[in-house]
């Protein structure tokens, strides 16, 4: 039996995961898997809770993107109780959510990813981090720290709580936005637009474009993509239709988010606490790196690939330049970083646009809600991909079933395949040094995964099957729920 390499924990990501690489005696990579090693069971312990409390419980799925869960949950509750929220409430929700996305994207780029992108190649782990970057580029890092904080503060002004908000309620928003708050927020939004544009320019020049010259010759992992668009096919994070693009081609299925079960199936693996969704149209899931089946990706690159345009001017200009450089439907995993910063510009612009509209301070922000039985699906684009909350409730409005599919969950299959591909390439010739292993992790980081988000109990409502495999990866037993 050969050697085993374990990267534990995977660092500069949210949540708990490890990478296990199995080597043959010759040193050749036999297999590699990303194992998510945490599980909290939200889908089980939310059963029995009142629906209106859900938006306040599920925020704790993730402290980096609590607003995404908060928003998807409130939308699921709106749908379940069949309530139309007032227009001002929608505007406040979207403004807060856009600011939140600026925070999350900047956090990922500068704190988690940039140490790989902006450090010297082979830099020691003690300087390959935000502290090391701050020593090298004090002005840039100070501005990034400041702007991420401003975006976070914007959500605090709007909702009183930035991390673990509770102001989005079924039926709308718990309090109106005052004109005074709007005036306070406007310059903050402008500063976000300015810095995200600066950051994107900087990263294009120093990282994305030079790196693309090397990367464009590589054969990338080729998958489908899932993302949300508005009624005109424009990028949208808060509401719209889902598009599931088939791998390789330009065709896609477009559907109402509530119908996701007709397009997505899920599978479980006995070696990870995360579920593996796949495109139902392809009938099965295969993680074979030579011939993946059913695999699609979500997150920044997917969103830019499925949309036709971006509805704000600066970001649209950036999208055109991006497409001109890398093509209409690029597959290279590294491009997530570039796509993410374009999205940061969009969200900053979108927040500014919403806050520039004085009707956002309308005081009618909340509809009366009457509990009832039913099912409600709430879907948003979380920073890390399409986020689905699906609830069922009894006639008193207490939860009877919960299913969650989270951005990172959609990417489970792709992350695993990409890591195996990277391990084969980077550990060639028996390498197992720190630099090579970090480059495997950098592939994971491109997806900006949130492993705590991704893990939930199985059997939340979808039919599931679990494959038990032997050491060669052959399926020896299949369990159904």
């Amino acid at each position: 039996m050969g050697k085993r390499l374990v990267i534990d924990p995977v660092t500069r990501v949210e949540g708990h995961a490890r990478v296990t690489v199995l080597l043959e005696d010759s040193g050749k990579v036999r297999d590699a898997r990303v194992q998510v090693i945490e599980l909290r069971g939200f889908e089980k312990f939310c059963v029995g809770r009142p629906v209106e409390e859900m938006p306040r419980i599920v925020t704790r799925i993730c402290g980096i993107c609590p607003w995404a869960h908060h928003m998807a949950s409130a939308k699921a509750a709106d749908a379940l109780f069949d309530v139309q929220i007032p227009e001002a409430a929608r505007k406040i929700r979207e403004a807060a959510y856009s600011a939140h996305l600026v925070h999350s994207h900047l956090l990922h780029f500068f704190f988690l990813a940039a140490p790989d992108l902006l450090s010297e190649p082979g830099a020691d782990y003690q300087v390959r981090n935000i502290m090391g970057l701050a020593a090298k580029n004090p002005d840039l890092v100070r501005k990034a720290v400041r702007t991420r904080h401003i975006a976070q503060e914007m959500t605090r002004i709007i909702a009183a709580n930035a991390i673990h908000p509770d102001a989005v309620v079924p039926g709308g928003f718990s309090r109106a936005l005052t004109e005074e708050q709007r005036q306070q927020l406007l310059p903050m939004a402008r500063e976000c637009v300015e810095f995200t544009r600066f950051a994107l320019d900087y990263a294009k020049k120093s990282v994305f474009k030079p790196r693309w010259v090397e990367l464009k010759e590589e054969i990338p992992l080729t998958t489908g993509f899932l993302g949300m668009v508005d009624r005109d096919g424009g990028l949208n994070f808060y509401d719209g239709m889902l598009r599931l693009q088939s791998s390789g081609g330009g065709e896609y299925a477009e559907f109402e988010p509530k119908d996701y079960r007709d397009f997505i199936d899920e599978e479980a693996m006995e070696w990870s606490y995360v579920k593996f969704p796949y495109a139902r149209s392809e009938g099965r899931l295969s993680l074979d790196p030579e011939n993946p089946v059913g695999v699609y990706r979500t997150n920044a690159l997917a969103r830019l690939n499925v949309c036709e345009h971006i509805p704000t001017p600066f970001a649209q200009q950036e999208l055109l330049e991006f497409r001109e450089t890398v093509g209409r439907r690029p597959q290279n995993t590294f491009l997530h970083h570039w796509a993410r910063l374009i999205e940061a510009v969009y969200n900053a612009e979108h927040a500014l646009e919403l806050l520039s509209d004085p009707t956002i301070t309308d005081t009618n922000v909340r509809e009366k809600v009457t509990p009832r039985a039913g099912r409600g699906v709430g879907v948003v684009e979380a920073p890390r991909g399409t986020l689905i909350h699906d609830y069922e409730a009894d006639d008193k409005g207490f939860i009877t079933a919960v299913n969650l599919i989270v951005g990172t969950t959609h990417n489970s299959a792709a992350i695993n395949i990409d890591v195996l591909r990277a391990a084969r390439q980077l550990l060639e010739g028996g390498r197992s040094d720190e630099e090579a292993l970090n480059r495997i992790e950098a592939v994971i980081r491109s997806y900006d995964p949130c492993f705590s988000c991704a893990t939930h109990n199985l059997g939340g409502g979808l039919p599931l099957r679990m494959n038990i495999c032997d050491s060669r990866g052959e399926v020896i037993r299949t369990i159904h729920n």
């Binding site: 708990h16 939310c46 003690q126 935000i130 701050a134 102001a167 909340r366 197992s432 679990m466």
Partner: protein, 297 residues
Amino acid sequence: MPATVVIESLSAHCAGCEVAILDQGEELLNILEKITIVHAPILMDHKYREQADGGADIAIPRADVGIISGGIRTEEDLAAAKAVRESCGIIIANGSCACMGGIPSLANLVPPNVLQAGVPKPEEGSEFELPALTGRVAALNEIVTVDVFLPGCPPPTHLFAAALNAVLEGKPFELPEDTVCNECPKVKEKRTVFADQGQQFPEMLRPLEQPPLEKRCLIEQGYFCMGAATRSGCGARCTQADVPCRGCMGPKRVGENPRAEMLGALSVYNFALRDVHDRRASFNWFTGGHSNLRPVR
């Protein structure tokens, strides 16, 4: 010489406590000048083991301060908590999960066989092992000694800075022992809105049927608001947004069950336990560790 710090998170967590550290804003850079972080998986690449193919034990570098967030959910969490305790002079339990179990400890309401139904269980000897889940979610001080408790979901930024500075200066850090009501801007009239209208027995409302009145105490309006049995320090963030407190700062003394005090506060207004919606969970959203929540079959 700057103090050395470990920032570790156990798996029953969400990373909100770590983001809250960043929410110090530019003050963060000043704090970073006073400390050297030697292990912090969310920010830097120090691993549990020196070699990717070496030993099973988790090795945490020696440090003056260990900041731990998250509750204990897996066998690996048990090992990590013990390893950080052994390597660090002072342990700060950062956030409600580490202090009291937090939201993930709501899982303690669910019988283990129900919770684990459908959960992957790797076969013995698998090449891809998964750490086993523990029987229940535990708070940090149920497993190791904790020196400083910093509750809150997440802990208020000013309290984090105060706690860390106190520890770095070798001073004690104490939290106030009063309730959120003391910080809440809403007004108490010492009777409910139902009593205002001459009704003898008040009704408990769900926070969705109508928006609450802006100025009046939420309990007096018939909403279940844990502020009356919850430690202050948060600045009453939730009631300021017109939503009732759910008790994230925990009881006035860590480890206690806030249920009795909350029932007392409700009884003042003639509310009884049976009036509380979801009474199994409502008192202990953030305090399900310390055996405060148990499965009901």
